[in-house]
Symmetry: C2
Subunit: 111 residues, 2 copies
């Protein structure tokens, strides 16, 4: 799924940007670029606590940058496999101006 940066709302653009704007999450995306993986293994690979990884993945998935699905392994364990959504985010001043015009709900309201 490709994220269209044209005709995007400010809120969505912001969600995409905040999802990416964190060192751990960049590392996660880089790790997933090598292929899909399940959560516990990924947590071990990156030396990150599982609850923390869970939170970061939730953030990435909410932004549509990552996809996941439950699978049952041969030995019966339920495992969540995570993979990248092949996104493409193109940001320019014009894109931002358009997005903000489409609406940006921060806690700050304009008059």
């Amino acid at each position: 799924m490709v994220i269209p940066t044209d005709d995007i709302t400010g809120t969505d653009l912001l969600q995409t940007l905040t999802a990416l704007a964190h060192p751990q999450r960049l590392r996660i995306v880089a790790a997933l670029a090598e292929g899909r993986n399940y959560v516990s293994q990924l947590a071990r690979d990156m030396r990150m606590s599982r609850p923390l990884l869970h939170m970061h993945l939730a953030r990435l998935e909410a932004a549509g940058l990552v996809r996941s699905e439950m699978e049952v392994s041969d030995d019966g364990k339920a495992m969540r496999y995570v993979e990248l959504a092949p996104f493409s985010v193109h940001v320019t001043p014009e894109v931002i101006a358009g997005a903000v015009a489409q609406g940006l709900d921060s806690t700050q309201a304009e008059e």
Copy 2:
């Protein structure tokens, strides 16, 4: 100045993303897309305190998304005019993987 997203370091990519990943700063960029402005006027336009705007602008400028210069008006006042740097940031999984490989100094060190 266009920010090349290819062959960028993880640290630089992160700085660019964190600079953009904030509602106020998106609004600032959108406002500056209409043309350059000086700080106090811009603060009034966006109903934002001047120290706060100052901080956001510093962040945007450090990331190379905005440029500024001091000018002296006809009536002798020193004014800082701010304008957009026409950036273009293209983010894909490949770009992120490459950037992280180029180095990402978070507070987290890998073994």
